[in-house]
Symmetry: C2
Subunit: 549 residues, 2 copies
Amino acid sequence: MNLTNAVTLRQKVSQLFVVRASGHIYDIQRDFPQWELTNKELRSLLKEGVGGVILVGGSAWELKSRCKILREWAGNPILICADIEEGLGQRFEGGTSLVPPISLGQIYKKDSQRALQLAKEYGHCIGYQARSCGLNWVLAPVCDINTNPDNPVINVRAWGEDPSIVSHLIAAFQRGLDLEGVLSCAKHFPGHGDTNVDSHIGLPTINHKLKRLEECEFLPFQSAIASGVDSVMIGHLLLPNLDYQYPATLSKLIITDLLRKKLGFDGLVVTDALVMDAITRTYGPGQAAVMAFEAGADLIMMPESIELALQALCDSFQSGRLSLDSLDKALNRRYELLAKLTDSYCVTDQNPLTFHNQELERESDHSLSLNLINSSLEINHPRSIPSTSLGVNLVRIDGPFLGKSLINSSPALCIPEQAGYRTCLFHPKGISPWSNDKDSPLVLERLPEGLVLLQIFTRGNPFQGDLHQNEPWPSVVRQLQRHKLLAGLVVYGSPYLWNDLSQSLDKSIPSAYSPGNFLEVQRKLLNALFGSSAIKNSTSFSDLKQFTD
Amino acid sequence: MNLTNAVTLRQKVSQLFVVRASGHIYDIQRDFPQWELTNKELRSLLKEGVGGVILVGGSAWELKSRCKILREWAGNPILICADIEEGLGQRFEGGTSLVPPISLGQIYKKDSQRALQLAKEYGHCIGYQARSCGLNWVLAPVCDINTNPDNPVINVRAWGEDPSIVSHLIAAFQRGLDLEGVLSCAKHFPGHGDTNVDSHIGLPTINHKLKRLEECEFLPFQSAIASGVDSVMIGHLLLPNLDYQYPATLSKLIITDLLRKKLGFDGLVVTDALVMDAITRTYGPGQAAVMAFEAGADLIMMPESIELALQALCDSFQSGRLSLDSLDKALNRRYELLAKLTDSYCVTDQNPLTFHNQELERESDHSLSLNLINSSLEINHPRSIPSTSLGVNLVRIDGPFLGKSLINSSPALCIPEQAGYRTCLFHPKGISPWSNDKDSPLVLERLPEGLVLLQIFTRGNPFQGDLHQNEPWPSVVRQLQRHKLLAGLVVYGSPYLWNDLSQSLDKSIPSAYSPGNFLEVQRKLLNALFGSSAIKNSTSFSDLKQFTD
């Protein structure tokens, strides 16, 4: 092979990779400089032909510029994707936030037609905003069935616990996305729903036999394939009954024999991020990339080291371990998707001089968001939570930083404060409120005095491990009720925790639940629980802490 | 007065106001929707002729678009300002962050020439980045002398505790700003340094006699005026020896008789935000605006209600309470400043298609930032902090949300974690770690077990009241030393707390201080204290929590 061919090979192999970058414009804005390429690196890789970029963070306005810049740097069409499973606002400020998909699984049980319509609008909203900003590949729908309520990484991201419901909903979601012509991705094959290990941290094992998988886990993927999903993402999952040796991401038995041959998916197969600990603890960066390709993946997401992965793959093609034919096949799958895209990206109000009060979020997006909140919340309102001169707003969060969901001006803090409930925030990385007494797990002396409004935020977030499951919330509810201290209860996120607590809760206690946790959700639930009387018409300036210096 | 004149009057009076808006592009991104106008409101007010906009929040990239959009809406030249006392990065992501001005007061004592050079570069850096983004009015320098170490609102924002040092430094800062042709603002006249009340919450009283004020508080303002400062901001301060009745903002004795006549300042006078509780607790929105103008202010910052304030001022001009002559004088001061500005705003890399790896932060800005960190830090490094399998990284912050300074990937959390110190974050709005025992104020049972690295973030931030002053930090240091539990100590922010603690600290304990608290500062201090051996070369993926879903 001569030098010219070698260059061509490297350029071709580059197209097999999706690299990670910040959605922000400037390098110094990167939230994770260890994992996000600099602009210089990114530009150079795009010139080399890298196949796609996954973006995280930044505002929608930045994202519009960002996508234009990346395309300019690439010269050729590229895939630009993001994990916007719950609306563009989940990752990019200014986009719409939607309550998590689990809400639609709940609505479906009451009104399946309504749920299907909402799921379609859900996909349409995400597709529209993605396209408006220049993204062309949405890494959704999640096709995992959350059969395990303790799942630390899927949980509310799933569309439900029932294979048939999930299958119907993700098909409707796909129809919504299709209206905007953006690409979709069914994940995480063959099904990440029944795990209690987070693959960001370790490798989850799923011990189900093929029969059970066929009757449950595979169904939503088959539905997605039948609905024309554009790509399938393989999860970092060990399924010993399918392949006792390799995780799905690196398994030929699972990708080629099962997904391609048995389930008949001939579209683009992408790995989950190879940088995740489930892979890196066992496989080197070059080795993992070669194995994933060999197993049947067409695109390698976020290799631990792009340089080593590129080199290892080039070597394997040159040595003949991998066939050039298989390379062309993988590249063609990507070309076909790119060819399917229309040119209508990024045509909206990016020019500051033609910006006229035009929100990215349209009226219909906002209505959908409110509609989903209203359709999925639960409120038990035997009476209003009383105003008091001495109350405690005890707020439990998954970790110290909840991002835009919890800021100083959040309704979850401001509304109770206006009614006399002082904020007491805690999370597993702070001072412990816990005793060893099972019946009285909260050490009340560690809290401010007074009636307690208990608000629990718990999404079962990745990286958090099994945190909230070690916290004895039903006992806490009983303890506070025994002491006549419980003024109200709100759960944001897990429907499983909400169901557990509902059983311990005295019917006279005002309580509420939403699968979502963003500001609009908080406002809705707390306004309902406190009633209008407790809420001041105007907020004092000093109620809003850290407004400015 | 006929209708045409009435319209003209309202348009003219509109120019007396500076309104607040978010630096973000879209309405739904606003962090404080109660206080930040919607785009529709803003556009309408700008069409009416409103004189200026103060922007808070957003990224530098958004800010560039934002300023263009506001100018387009206004049609006529307007003032666009921001509180970027410590670098554009203090308010807008992507801008440079500089350690607070107090650092230069410290450096001055050791090397005055170097401090003056750095202060000039400080102004130059802010001026350059402000101009690049389209801001034309920098609300700095702070001319308050921080004679009261317990000052909750000025503190590290001041350039020092010595009138002469502050005077020299702010003059150098002004020379730096001048290089970029942006407007400046000396604040908060007649001097906010000797207060222990935060004017965001209440009205501070300063009981000094005129003689003391002339020998101390006034000097930096006189220096600023002599250096050609463009505007002076009046603070919400009661000085009974100057005016027993009215706060400075509303006091003719202070604005007209003292600042204008006695100190000879004929430039633009602007109020501090009228929306602050120091004013609104006593004066209505219309009343406050009329009184401020009557006292001699040319511009009203952030009225509690723009509509009521506008109406009240129009009424006062029409009734003859205020003279139209005084209106023209005030408007002229603003025109003159606008006329002074060059047209060179917003000329840089806003076009995505010509963006080529160009950071807003230039090499020289970055060097200045590092230079200031290095020149103002203190490190006592008798030995490295040991790695351990059982350590606690006890981090104290002013409130639950520190913004971009403390995120999951912050060095203040990640570096200790890599050395075995588990994060335990606390703040006054969380579970209390405090006992009533003066000698053992920390309840050790509430913390995880192990050696403690204690990190204290305290800026004396506005809205936080006198929080850290009630926390017995010297006793905590002695307690941890007594139990041989103190592995290290880091203070970010207050030099006064650092000095206090240094006296209690055993010389064998590694410790460090910086007036700044942002990521680069944390990295610098902790790398020094831990030494290179404790730091892993690469970070595991799961060390970086919440990287993505």
